[in-house]
């Protein structure tokens, strides 16, 4: 299997926030924490676009690189997860993440910043799959149930695609070829590296 990836098709997103609502409901995400949110690019300008943003489960995740307690890990499917029992809530990952994914609930003592919370690609955490402990800390583990992330499965216009990177890329490619426009995939290069053959500029040569 290829890696699990998200693609948001800006040509299709209608900013309904269905993905945000589905995520919050599925995982009972607390007030003030948004694992997923819809962002409008060039708001108010003709031709504005909306995209759904969450943790992209980067190939070379900067959050993993900066975490001082090494609480992050990557599954065989390329999903970036973390152990909340190890997390100290320092916030370094928040500064490192290009997508603003890490969230910090302020439900601790005296409003203290709590442990980091983020999109899990509906894959839970290190606790036993489907256990009550996992559900309480990370939400539902849909991948272990043979399901895909709820945000992607609930998207009414299928703007948000989530699943095996090869499969979702193929679906998106078919769309682009069919409609003849909208090939830009926001965040794809940042999260998963440049597309193969994307950089067509010749390498600089010594004179």
């Amino acid at each position: 299997m290829a890696r699990m990836k998200f693609i948001c098709d800006a040509e299709r997103c209608i900013e309904c926030n269905g993905c945000v609502t589905a995520c919050k409901a599925e995982h009972e995400v607390p007030w003030g924490v948004n694992r997923r949110r819809v962002v409008t690019l060039n708001d108010g300008v003709p031709g504005e676009k909306s995209i759904s943003v969450a943790c992209m489960h980067c190939s070379d995740a900067p959050c993993m690189a900066v975490c001082p307690v090494d609480c992050f890990y990557r599954t065989d499917e390329g999903v970036v997860l973390h152990d909340k029992d190890t997390c100290i809530g320092c916030g370094y990952c928040s500064y490192a993440c290009p997508f603003g994914a890490p969230q910090f609930p302020s439900n601790g003592t005296f409003g203290l910043r709590g442990k980091m919370d983020k999109c899990t690609f509906c894959a839970g955490g290190p606790e036993d799959n489907g256990s009550a402990a996992e559900n309480e800390k990370y939400g539902r583990n849909r991948l272990a149930e043979g399901k895909l992330p709820i945000c992607a499965e609930m998207c009414s216009t299928k703007a948000l695609l989530g699943g095996d990177g090869d499969v979702v890329a193929d679906i998106f490619r078919t769309r682009v070829l069919t409609r003849g426009k909208g090939s830009e995939v926001w965040g794809w290069g940042t999260a998963y590296g440049k597309p193969s053959g994307g950089d067509t500029k010749p390498a600089p040569t010594k004179s």
């Binding site: 997860l81 036993d128 272990a144 299928k158 069919t178």
Partner: protein, 78 residues
Amino acid sequence: MKPLIAGGLAATLCLGLPGCGEKPQTAGARKADTKAYSAATGTDTAGGWKVGDKTSWEAHLATRTKNGQNEYTRTGAH
């Protein structure tokens, strides 16, 4: 003297209160995660794949992605 003692007692109680809301935590090395395909999670598990069989799980997810997120499979690309 009495108000001073009462005030001190109240302050001690207030400082102790937040401790009641804290949950016990397990410190130590990061725990290992189990494979997503390796454990049945209950009655909500989708059919069409065999628990513990990575290949069938991957094939099931790929089919689910194609059928659920690609409407061209139903309508055809126009």
